[in-house]
Amino acid sequence: MQAFVVVLTVFVLAMFVGWMVITKVPPLLHTPLMSGSNAVSGITIIGAMLSIATPSHISTVLGFVAIVFATINVVGGFVVTNRMLAMFKKKD
């Protein structure tokens, strides 16, 4: 129970930080915001790596596929966001 309250605290506070920070993003950048946040949600890759580290073959297979999925998410997300953001220029 104690451990749960700790992670719950982290969750609630992180939601608040997310709320405060992201309301400041202007509509101009909403698409890069989505693809960038998409890449961040690929953080599940950490969980996928940890599930390799067990003796069970089933977990290893699930973990491997999860790593592939999450990496597509991470690499695809950050690269495409970078590509988009590089196009936003001010008048020179």
């Binding site: 309301t23 909403h30 698409t31 950490i46 580290a53």
Partner: protein
């Protein structure tokens, strides 16, 4: 390695993610922000490599991780580098799906490990969070694939797919999921129940996405974005891992905010959008014949080009039609040409123009239009009265004055771009066919409106030729 060091690295990664989002709030800092986010991810991954479980797995564990990362990186980079800017909504939908799918698999693996013989019974936190990961992840994965398909119009049409008893079926599926969820919590050893739950959640994900039509896609994509984050956060609860919880909830919050903004920009509730409700309200609108009969004036490129002779301010209003006809580069050329004649040209961007939040901005930025020329609705609306020519290209519902005047129509109360206040309005459109809301647009029949019936890209190219000819 001492787990405290790994957790410290996770803390730094979490801070980098937050800084990434802070910097994404301005185009000047956004590129750096994105790179910081990627660095945070790299740090988290490298720190996890020295986790004692993975160290114990030895060479084999590292080979599997390395192999997965290489395969995923190649696929991800290929997708990201090859995708066209007009296809960005599909791309984001697809990436959302992969995130959700990964959460399903990780939670499934964690449950499998937790119920191995000789292990202590799993905690309530683990089982409940596993159920949530399976549910949200399954809905996200299949919902995103359907959204991808509808945007691509590959197998399914873009319009809403509704059938009798749809809501009832969704409720039944929801109850089955609750039942399976309770079973998993009571008897975690019954792993089949988890995969059955994922299966039912997958069907639910498909059924929840098919009623969402083309122009409502921005909401669906924002929502799926939020789900992919929440699925990651739920997996964080499964593994008791803070960095998953923090990153997942940041993304969850982001998606929720965006879907709220989109709903507000259409004056509709989230429930209404999710049920494909716009068709139900269409009955209140006037008949197209009554609105258009004898009042629509059509003009040629030469006639429109003459309008620019005495103009000092032009506002261009892009919509999804501009993306479809790939007209953004031609629009840029026209903008430069008018700019050279001393005309002030700006762009009016409605929050739900296109198929995802910010879609038009990305397309125009791709065509090298400076971002300070791209104006939000609230900022540009008061200036239409001082605008000589407003050019609407491929937009319809977002410039329909019925939203202001007809409380019974499908878009009643939706904030619109006030192009009708401009001195002259030029609407580039292939025909008088209605937009997504299925209602006629009195703007097309107004005294100060000229219709230019043509494909978007061809119309702009013809216009450029006519302006050059005249000068």
């Amino acid at each position: 390695m001492n787990p405290a060091f790994i957790n410290l690295a996770y803390l730094v990664a979490s801070v980098l993610f937050i800084v990434c989002f802070i910097e994404l709030s301005h185009p000047r800092t956004a590129v750096r922000g994105n790179i910081l986010g990627a660095l945070g991810m790299l740090l988290a991954v490298v720190a996890t490599l020295v986790d004692k479980g993975i160290l114990a797995g030895g060479q084999q564990a590292y080979l599997i991780i390395f192999g997965g990362v290489v395969v995923g990186s190649i696929l991800g980079a290929m997708l990201a580098l090859m995708v066209k800017m007009t296809a960005m909504p599909q791309m984001v939908a697809l990436l959302n799906g992969f995130g959700g799918g990964a959460s399903v698999l990780v939670a499934g693996a964690a449950l499998h490990d937790a119920v191995r013989p000789g292990m202590l019974p799993p905690t309530l936190q683990l089982t409940v969070a596993t159920v949530l990961s399976g549910l949200i992840g399954g809905v996200t994965f299949w919902g995103s694939l359907v959204a991808f398909d509808k945007l691509q119009e590959f197998l399914l049409p873009g319009r809403p797919i509704l059938f009798k008893g749809q809501q009832l079926l969704n409720i039944v599926l929801g109850l089955v999921i609750v039942g399976l969820g309770v079973l998993i919590v009571m008897e975690p050893g019954d792993q089949w129940a988890y995969w059955a739950l994922v299966g039912v959640a997958s069907v639910l994900g498909i059924l929840l996405t098919i009623p969402i039509g083309g122009a409502d896609m921005p909401v669906a994509i924002a929502l799926l974005n939020s789900y992919s984050g929440l699925a990651g956060a739920a997996t964080g609860f499964v593994l008791n891992n803070n960095v998953l919880i923090i990153a997942g909830s940041l993304v969850g919050a982001s998606g929720i905010i965006l879907s709220q903004i989109m709903c507000k920009a259409m004056n509709r509730s989230l429930a209404n959008v999710l049920m494909g409700g716009i068709e139900a309200g269409a009955a209140g609108a006037p008949k197209a014949d009554d609105v258009y009969a004898g009042k629509v004036k059509s003009a040629t490129a030469e006639e429109i080009a003459m309008l620019f002779d005495n103009a000092s301010r032009v506002v261009i209003v892009p919509g999804y039609g501009m993306a479809v006809s790939q007209a953004q580069h031609a629009v840029r050329d026209l903008t430069n040409l008018l700019g050279a004649k001393g005309i002030d040209v700006e762009f009016a961007i409605h929050p739900v123009a296109g198929r995802m939040p910010g879609h038009m901005n990305v397309l125009l930025a791709e065509a090298d239009i400076p971002y300070d020329k791209l104006k939000e609705m609230d900022e540009i609306n008061p200036s239409f009265q001082q605008t000589d020519v407003a050019i609407v290209i491929g937009a319809n519902d977002v410039v329909n004055p019925l939203a202001r005047t007809d409380p019974n129509c499908a878009i009643a109360g939706m904030p619109i771009l006030d192009v009708d206040k401009a001195r002259t309005v030029v609407v580039i459109k292939r025909s008088l066919s209605p937009g997504f809301a299925g209602i006629p647009n009195p703007l097309f029949a107004m005294d100060n409106t000229l219709m230019f019936f043509s494909d978007g890209k061809k119309a702009i190219t013809d216009l450029i030729a006519a302006v050059k000819e005249a000068s």
